[in-house]
Symmetry: C2
DNA sequence: TACCTAATGAGACTCAGTATCGTCAAGGCC
DNA sequence: GGCCTTGACGATACTGAGTCTCATTAGGTA
């Protein structure tokens, strides 16, 4: 659970209209913890009887992605999901139990990319790194259960 | 272009039947360079008038993935693709011009994962790393064109 | 050769994501 | 405040990837 105002103000800054549906989608994202799919937001909206069309949710997610307010991640299952995030280069660590997502800076990655470039001759332009594991809370909960 | 016999023999070793459709799919994969989608193979099969059903191609790709003869990768576009590969842990460097794919060992990645674990408290179980760039051939071709 | 059963192909189905189009409302201007 | 332009909207049709079902076929074995 974070605050939707960050997303809304970045919309404003980029010169996009502040419409009701966009506020609603920003709110739905803010009240989520961890990653979510477009379908999750469609469900949330319907459950809360918020009148937002399916197409609008897809459009809005695309817009927010462009503004770097959310980022697409690919889960091990192959599903596409989104996470709310800060607009700087970083990666995600995703808890496979509670789905909570933590951002990390790409420490160490530039060295890996350089090494790969040296050994393959590729000019590396971008990379995608996602880490999956168990978060501290879930580890603690598991050890409490024995 | 590689050899389909590796895939076929790993089928055999794992106790799966060596059927004609599976040989055909292995052949189609072997004659491809770089990544391909399930739809690509469906097209290839139809163009070469090889009688292999669409469902069979999906099933066979799933099987080959399980045998680690191919691996799923997620392109920056969000599309799902596959690459033929060796059955050891590694990552891919994908040329964004010619689509050619090179395997690299995960040199340096264990250190990155350890560092992330230390800083976030997560117990890291797996990771996914894909690098995108321009391969040596395409760099050379580009510089020849000026 | 006959048998068992895993594998197949056809085709219906589901569901994510996109495209179209007529309507509506945000926000700038007077 | 009222008007106007146009970006954004919702409804809905569409597309295409991937899955599921089921009757049929063929690989491997005795």
């Amino acid at each position: 659970m974070t605050d939707a105002s960050g997303i809304v103000s970045s919309l404003d800054r980029a010169g996009y209209r502040l419409t009701e549906p966009r506020r609603v989608v920003a709110g739905l994202i803010a009240e989520r913890d961890g990653h979510f799919t477009a379908a999750d937001l469609v469900d949330d909206a319907r459950r809360q009887r918020l009148d937002v069309g399916r197409a609008t949710i897809f459009r809005t997610l695309e817009l927010f992605t462009e503004l770097n307010a959310v980022e697409r991640v690919d889960l091990p299952s192959g599903d596409h999901a989104y996470v709310e995030c800060e607009p700087i280069h970083h990666h995600h660590v995703i808890c496979s139990l509670c789905q909570r997502t933590t951002e990390i800076e790409a420490c160490g990655m530039p060295a890996v990319a350089r090494d790969v470039a040296r050994r393959t001759g590729f000019r590396i332009q971008s990379h995608r790194l996602e880490l999956f594991g168990v978060c501290p809370d879930c580890q603690a909960a598991a050890s409490r259960r024995g």
